[in-house]
């Protein structure tokens, strides 16, 4: 290993400008919170400003493909590449939406004296996720996952006076602690086998020795546990419904998009970089045959979407329903990885952008309704179609998009996943996924039935929606409808972002 000089580090700092911008935003938030003890009005605006600067830095370095914090001449701990930058844009963008979201939320307003903590912890989550999508080192992966988790544990229990929040937080801590412990065990085994924590170095070592062995499979799966926990894949999904139901709605929405996106980026990077042998001209990957990732991921994804969809049928709480639906969506997204080709990755990226808009939109409407009704039970949605036509129609569009029916954007997302599957001749899997979509139609349609066809038996207060929330919902609706018809720019953008460092 080279001796690390200071100039070396300073050069690396130029490559992590987005992360530095987030850190400075975090410090600013703390300072402003401390100086203006009573006045919390400016915090979200400062945060949005900081994130805009961050977005600028990400876009400025979009096409860079380089290592930062090198440990030797051509190996580093942090990777800056279009793939990582795509996910950083996704995370920063969804964070801005979530901040606007929180400004409308009653639950966050209740904890007004702790709003400083709220935004600072979100900044901490962003920082953790940024390093998660761009790390090439097992230690850094672990540290960034912990950074994300610790902040999200606290945020899940933000409202200290609601038992539901504390329960969600505690469950999240316990499940999360165990899963990260298991991951650490997997990392230690992988390090013991190869003597390196750098993914690229592990890859070249494994390629050179052509080893097979149970311990490699074990370590790969153990590391998958923690990532599977973050993306709520099937055997590790138990926390999802409880935490999603208990946490404040903005945090639920944030967990379902940003933390899931970071988990997927990490999973793709880990699988591709650590186990790849070569990429053929058609964009299909040939993995080392230490672990049969293809079969493994197919099994996990079928399990995930079937379980998610069938469990969602029985839900009466809107947040739980969306939690199970987000589990099912994790299943569809995993199929894109199971193809093990560049096309599959492009499909995942397309799906994520669309999924971000429709899921955040659905949660936004659920939150606006719950601000008024004080409930998220589907039975209470009876007759909402006539009382709050705008909110009901937009929720209907988001749910139709989540099902994946044309002409909404959800259809385009699913279409590209299925195209990638068919291209790889995985017809059976594609059919199973299609059948799952049909199941999902049932529970989404049930919500619509309650809103538009059932009459309310209860007297509910008059429904007024502020102009700002109407504009916000409309802004979330626009991409769903636009990308449903005119999706070429999105597809081109995704296809230009699949380049991972080195391959």
């Amino acid at each position: 290993m080279n001796t690390i000089s200071l100039e070396y580090l300073v050069d690396s700092l130029k490559l992590i400008k987005p992360e530095i911008a987030v850190t400075i935003t975090l410090v600013l938030l703390v300072l402003v919170d401390l100086i203006m003890n009573k006045n919390k009005k400016f915090l979200p605006y400062i945060f949005i400003g900081g994130l805009t600067v961050t977005l600028y830095f990400i876009i400025a370095q979009y096409c860079t493909s380089s290592f930062a914090f090198n440990i030797s001449k051509n190996l580093g701990m942090v990777i800056v590449d279009p793939f990582g930058n795509f996910f950083k844009i996704l995370i920063a963008g969804s964070s801005i939406i979530i901040i606007l979201f929180s400004m409308l939320s009653n639950e966050i307003k209740d904890g007004a004296d702790r709003q400083g903590e709220y935004y600072v912890l979100i900044a901490g989550m962003i920082l953790g996720m940024f390093f998660m999508v761009s790390s090439a080192d097992l230690i850094l992966i672990y540290v960034s996952i912990e950074m994300l988790s610790l902040s999200s544990y606290v945020l899940a229990g933000f409202d200290k006076q609601a038992i539901r929040n504390s329960e969600a937080s505690l469950k999240y801590v316990i499940y999360g602690g165990i899963s990260s412990g298991i991951m650490l065990f997997g990392i230690s085994i992988l390090y013991g086998l190869t003597g390196s924590t750098n993914l690229y170095e592990i890859n070249s070592l494994v390629q050179a020795s052509q080893v097979h062995g149970f311990t490699y499979i074990l370590s790969g799966f153990l590391i998958f546990v923690a990532i599977g926990f973050k993306i709520s894949a099937a055997p590790f999904h138990f926390w999802t419904p409880d935490v999603y139901e208990g946490a404040p709605i903005p945090i639920t929405a944030y967990l379902s998009i940003a933390s899931k996106a970071a988990g997927f980026a990490l999973l793709i990077r880990f699988v591709k970089i650590t186990f790849i042998q070569s990429v053929d001209p058609n964009g299909f990957w040939h993995l080392l045959n230490i672990i049969d990732w293809k079969t493994f991921i197919i099994i996990i994804s079928i399990l995930t979407m079937t379980l998610g969809n069938f469990a969602a049928i029985w839900q009466n709480n809107m947040k739980r329903l969306l939690a199970y639906s987000s589990i099912a969506h994790a299943g569809y997204l995993l199929l894109g990885l199971a193809v093990l080709s560049n096309e599959g990755i492009a499909a995942i990226l397309i799906y994520f952008v669309i999924y971000g808009f429709m899921n955040l939109g659905a949660f936004l409407v659920v939150m606006l309704i719950s601000n008024k009704l004080g409930s998220e039970e589907i039975d209470d949605y009876d007759g909402l179609g006539s009382k709050a036509p705008f909110l009901s129609v937009s929720l209907a569009i988001f749910l139709v998009s989540l099902t994946g029916l044309p002409p909404t954007a959800g259809f385009i997302g699913k279409l590209y996943i299925f195209l990638a599957l068919v291209d790889a001749k995985m017809i059976v899997v594609a059919v199973i996924a299609l059948l799952n979509t049909v199941v999902s139609l049932y529970y989404y349609a049930r919500v619509l039935k309650h809103m538009f066809l059932s009459d309310s038996t209860k007297e509910t207060p008059a429904f007024t929606t502020s102009i700002s929330s109407i504009v916000f919902v409309a802004l979330m609706l626009a991409p769903i409808l636009i990308f449903g018809i005119y999706f070429t720019p999105l597809v081109d953008f995704a296809k230009s972002s699949i380049a991972l460092m080195g391959f």
């Binding site: 200071l6 919170d33 200290k160 609601a162 038992i163 539901r164 504390s166 719950s370």
Partner: protein
């Protein structure tokens, strides 16, 4: 490769066996003449008052955490203090940023009143937005 881990396993076994053997051997060798004073909890020579199984105020842990942070800070700063001259201004800034972050945390702690030893008002959590009948729960 798996065989390599055998060494670790042997090491682990020896560690476990050593503890067990040492404890059992000591049990046979040492004299055992307990008196009332010997059986008491050791509290720096004072006579203990009450049972040792009391709930400690959670604020002890907050103070302990802050202490720990500054302890670690010293451990990190001593090596930095030894070499930073060689790195010039850049080296100084690295330590300065670290100290600034820690200071910020301290200021935060102070301002939010976590260092004050006045008993805060206890706010019990309530059931909000949950359709659970508490009485029914308690009966079950």
């Amino acid at each position: 490769m798996l065989i390599e881990f055998g060494k670790v396993f042997v090491f682990l076994l020896i560690a476990i066996v050593f503890v067990i053997v040492a404890l059992i051997a000591a049990k046979f060798i040492r004299p055992a003449r307990p008196t009332h004073e010997k059986m008491l909890t050791y509290e720096c020579g004072e006579n203990p008052i009450g049972t040792p199984w009391v709930k400690f105020n959670i604020r002890f842990y907050v103070v302990a955490l802050i202490f720990l942070i500054f302890d670690v800070e010293v451990v990190l700063l001593i090596p930095w203090a030894l070499v930073y001259k060689g790195f010039g201004l850049g080296g100084f800034l690295v330590g300065a940023i670290f100290l600034f972050m820690l200071g910020l945390g301290m200021a935060y702690e102070w301002r939010k009143g976590d260092l004050e030893w006045v008993k805060p008002k206890v706010i019990l959590p309530t059931l909000k937005n949950v359709q659970v009948d508490i009485k029914e729960d308690a009966a079950a």
